[in-house]
Amino acid sequence: MSRFFATGSDSESEESSSADEITPKAPGATFKQSLLLSDDEEDTKRVVRSAKDKRFEELTNLIKTIRNAMKIRDMSKCLEEFEQLCRAFLKSKNIVDKEGVPPFYIRLLADLEDYLNQLWEDKEGKKKMNKNNAKALSTLRQKIRKYNRDFESEIAAYKEVKSKTKSSCLFSMHCMNLWGGVNLGLIRSDESSSSDEDDDDDDDEDWGSDQSGSSGETSDKEEGKTSSMSMLFLKNLFNTLFVFLILSLFVFSPIATIQEKPKMFAKGTEINTAVVVKKLNEILQARGKKGTDRAAQIELFHALAAIAAENNLGQGILVKIKFNIIASLYDYNPNLAAFMKPDMWKKCLDCIDELLDILFEHNNIFIGENIAEDSENLAVSDQPFRVRGCILTLVERMDEEFTKIMQNTDPHSQEYVDNLKDEGRVCGIVDRLLTYMENKGSTEEICRVYLRRIMHTYYKFDYKAHRRSLGLQGETKSEQDQEESEGEDSAVIMDRLCKFIYAKDRTDRIRTCAILCHIYHHALHSRWYQARDLMLMSHLQDNIQHADPPVQILYNRTMVQLGICAFRQGMIKDAHNALLDIQSSGRAKELLGQGLLMRNMQERNAEQEKIEKRRQVPFHMHINLELLECVYLVSAMLLEIPYMAAHEFDARRRMISKQFHHQLRVGERQPLLGPPESMREHVVAASKAMKMGDWRTCHSFIINEKMNSKVWDLFPEAQRVREMLVRKIQEESLRTYLFTYSSVYDSISMATLSEMFELEMPTVHSIISKMIINEELMASLDQPTQTVVMHRTEPTSLQNMALQLAEKLGNLVENNERVFDLKQGVYGGYFNRDQKSYQQKQSGYQRGGYRNQNQGNY
């Protein structure tokens, strides 16, 4: 019986339990005669029962225990009880023959079979079962199969009705209403004909409107004033009535009763706001409970919304229901990792759109999460509606769901593209919410919705604005022209939204995100100075390590974008510095939230992995890692190669970029050097050419068909970047050439150099001058002849070597002295300890002195 109310709310099930208590004792109203006859049978209890009642009571009791056992999955118990039930059923054979198979019996058989099949399918659950249970399950399954063959037709009929009722809730609801009424009428006529007192007529009416338990009780009490005999009699009558009602309902639409009863409004009930709200709360109470059918709940809400709309209950209630629908849509997935199914997602978007429609149309609806439940004003009245709920949270949640969907779709499938098309709708909703909030929301809410908007804008390259800035709009068609002039530049939007947040936001996080997005957007559109200044002014670099991982990922993305932007602008050093942190760790993929590294698999457990997966950036927002690496390596090459040439003999020279050196070494280790294939090999080959000052080869390695398609064409202004790159290669090659071969020249004409590197004379002049000023090149410029005259001040390689040797010997002496110190220490006794440490100090000083001297000598 309890399953009967499984989908109902709490109050309903309480009711049902009270009904359970009553049912077993209930004598059939139609068996008045036998009831009267068997009056003396159980005199002591003064409870009168027919044979049928007795049998049926036995059966229902057994059924109850079986259902309980089903609930706790106790298969052995189930089996036991089922066997008893079969026996009891056989006993009551003659009654059944007379009456037909009782519907509740059929119901149990059908349900039990379904349940067993379901258990049988559930492989995992079966595994978890203990041995006894599993054994019982298989036996029981076989038994019930065999047994049910006898009742095939009945079960089929039952199932048909069940499926029918499921398909149309509304219809069945009305059915229920109707049938409830009909039954009542029937019973009443029955009653009036057979019973002496018609006192309980009122009660009967109450039955229909779901108030049975309490009102029944009260009626009982009232009756209690009369004689106990009559009271019992009446009670019996009353119970009979109830059972009959239920049985009749079973026959016609057994499952409909189960599903629809909780929210059905009795016929004649005036559907007003209060009733609907009550219903709503009832449904809501089942939320989050185990065994609640979430899909059904959503259906219920929809039905309720339809009823509310039908009865013109006003927008307030509709808004409230919509809130709940959306919330339960979000609730549909039990855990955070799962993502919405496409139809759910569509429904969710539709619902939010509708909700926003209502909100826009009706200006007098106030919503807010701080409106208390009891101060809500849902009824149609002069006062504006007040509804509890937060549209912003819902939209934010929707946005997150969208991200989740994108995260969980294969980025190389058509499905992804299809899903991505929804981005426009999401943006539209965010935009609508934004306009709504600008009118109604508080500053904080505006900040939040602005951030959402920013998050949807910052990573997109604004092609319109780009084209416009290039002055190409004249060439495009007129429609496009219109389109272009319509939309605001994303830069303007970003600027407006971000500045609002900078000014108004109180939570640090939103501001941080906004700044980062702003920088990203600037960088993406090659506004290098703005981006850099914003980054420096925000001082984010100092405290970003305290932020939460998603913000850190955003920061990393921003830094990378900044570096790439610097590269495009020809700020090689800045580009290198910006990318160094990300690239040197070798975990760029992880740091940018674009994938998990395999090698960490052992270190993290499943839980952590889930968390990390949730942080991943959707594919359409990814930064091309190859582009990133190429930009990094090329800028490292442009910095490192001249540096290496300049400090060839320096024993203490530092590496600018470890990763670049690593790549070089990998290239050197190759036994056979074929033509470069990958991007890295190209850069390595180019570096080697540059080392020799051969800019033409270097150029051909860096810029060619392959590299163009792999890397350079990904930039919006590919041609400009390429030109910049060639120029840089020429300049740096010139520097490298001078560093490497200056020792061979006594003097070199600048004209020759300019010819060699295809640079203009003034450029060559300025580069050489700069090198001379920085004391990198020991030379002077001879103005009249336009030549560079080398000064021989650089130590020769032999001298360098001697210096290195001297240094090494210094180390050796130091080490040796340490051995000596230790020897002294060993022989020093307890009393000499102070003295000893003093000595050590002294020798330390001496050593230091020696070292200083050494360095002075160099």
Binding site: S797, L798, L805, N811, L812, N815, N816, R818, V819, V826
Partner: protein, 340 residues
């Protein structure tokens, strides 16, 4: 051209401790082509830093060791791993004997690269030679110096002291300390006299007169940096090795002293406890094996350090020699220039 090589043991220095056998001194007039054969061997097979080796044959006459012939070891290749070297030597010597040439094994020769020959391998093989044949020497041929115009050929023997240490295989710091050996006393150089037959000498004189290319340009070559650079490079490498060894030794001795301290403390505690127990009339604690409780750290072998030191010394000698020569040349050149 045929040289005769005579290696002279300085008198009194060649007392071999084990047998008490004394080789006093020199001389034979047998003609050999040892030097030329060695040079040819290197030219043909050795390049760069590769080393060629071979066997010296000769005999002891009075207190001299006369080396009258030699043959090279065949070059090792990967394919003939099962090649039996000893077998080859025996075969070779037998064949020589058939043609009536000196066939007594008296040592071996090896080429070197910028004077880097003081190594463990050399030590080991020379030890085994000297152990088996008392009068064995190792001839070190320096092709680079030779190419510069002056034949560089040196003969070395292990000192009796080193022989003893090698026999005992005790290379711990203590062992070496007890033996009181430094890198200077590891090898002794034996003076070499190269002798030709008189006929050859006559031929030489004649040739010298006739020869048109008698200019010895190599000797006057002023460019020195290449050779020096190489030497410095090698020297630096050895210095690095030395540093590492010293660091190793340092850690070792630190560990040792720490452990000694612990041991001392432990013993003291033990003693105190025993004294207490005695006063209480209980039997003293049983003796435990202290060396088991405190395993002394593995001492680093010091032989390598000695060898490195020897090698460094060698390099330094080389550089010194080279630079003094070059300085002379430079001054000479300067003077010449001034004169002109």
């Amino acid at each position: 051209m045929i040289f005769q090589l005579v290696i002279v043991f300085p008198e009194g220095k060649c007392v071999i401790a084990t047998g008490g056998l004394t080789i006093s001194s020199i001389s034979t007039s047998k003609v050999t082509q040892v030097v030329l054969k060695i040079i040819k061997h290197y030219q043909e097979e050795g390049q760069g830093s590769e080393v060629v080796q071979g066997v010296l044959l000769g005999l002891v006459v009075d207190d001299r060791l006369e080396i009258t012939n030699c043959f090279p070891f065949p070059q090792h290749t990967e394919d003939d791993a099962d090649f039996d070297e000893v077998q080859y030597q025996m075969e070779m010597m037998r064949s020589l004997r058939h043609v009536n040439i000196d066939h007594l094994h008296v040592g071996w020769y090896q080429s070197t690269y910028y004077g880097s020959f003081v190594s463990r391998a050399l030590l080991d093989s020379q030890f085994s030679y000297q152990h088996a044949i008392e009068e064995s020497v190792v001839l070190i041929y320096d092709p680079i110096k030779t190419a510069q115009g002056s034949l560089s050929l040196k003969a070395y023997r292990l000192t009796p002291k080193l022989m003893e240490i090698c026999k005992e295989k005790d290379f711990t710091p203590e062992g070496l300390k007890k033996a009181n050996i430094g890198f200077e006393q590891m090898f002794e150089e034996v003076p070499i006299v190269i002798k030709n037959s008189h006929l050859i000498n006559v031929l030489m004189w004649e040739l010298e007169d006739k020869s048109t290319v008698a200019d010895k340009h190599e000797l006057l070559n002023l460019s020195s940096s290449n050779h020096l650079e190489k030497s410095l490079q090698l020297l630096m490498d050895r210095v690095d090795d030395m540093s590492q060894d010293i660091v190793k030794y340092n850690t070792y001795s630190r560990n040792l002293s720490k452990q000694q301290q612990q041991k001392h403390q432990y013993l003291q505690r033990r003693q105190q406890e025993n004294a207490q127990r005695q006063s209480r009339g209980e039997p003293p604690l049983p003796e435990e094996d202290i060396s088991k409780l405190f395993k002394p750290p593995q001492p680093p072998p010091r032989m390598d350090t000695l060898l490195i030191a020897g090698q460094i010394n060698n390099y330094c000698q080389n550089v010194k020699e080279f630079t003094s020569q070059n300085l002379g040349k430079l001054f000479m050149a300067e003077a010449l220039q001034g004169h002109n």
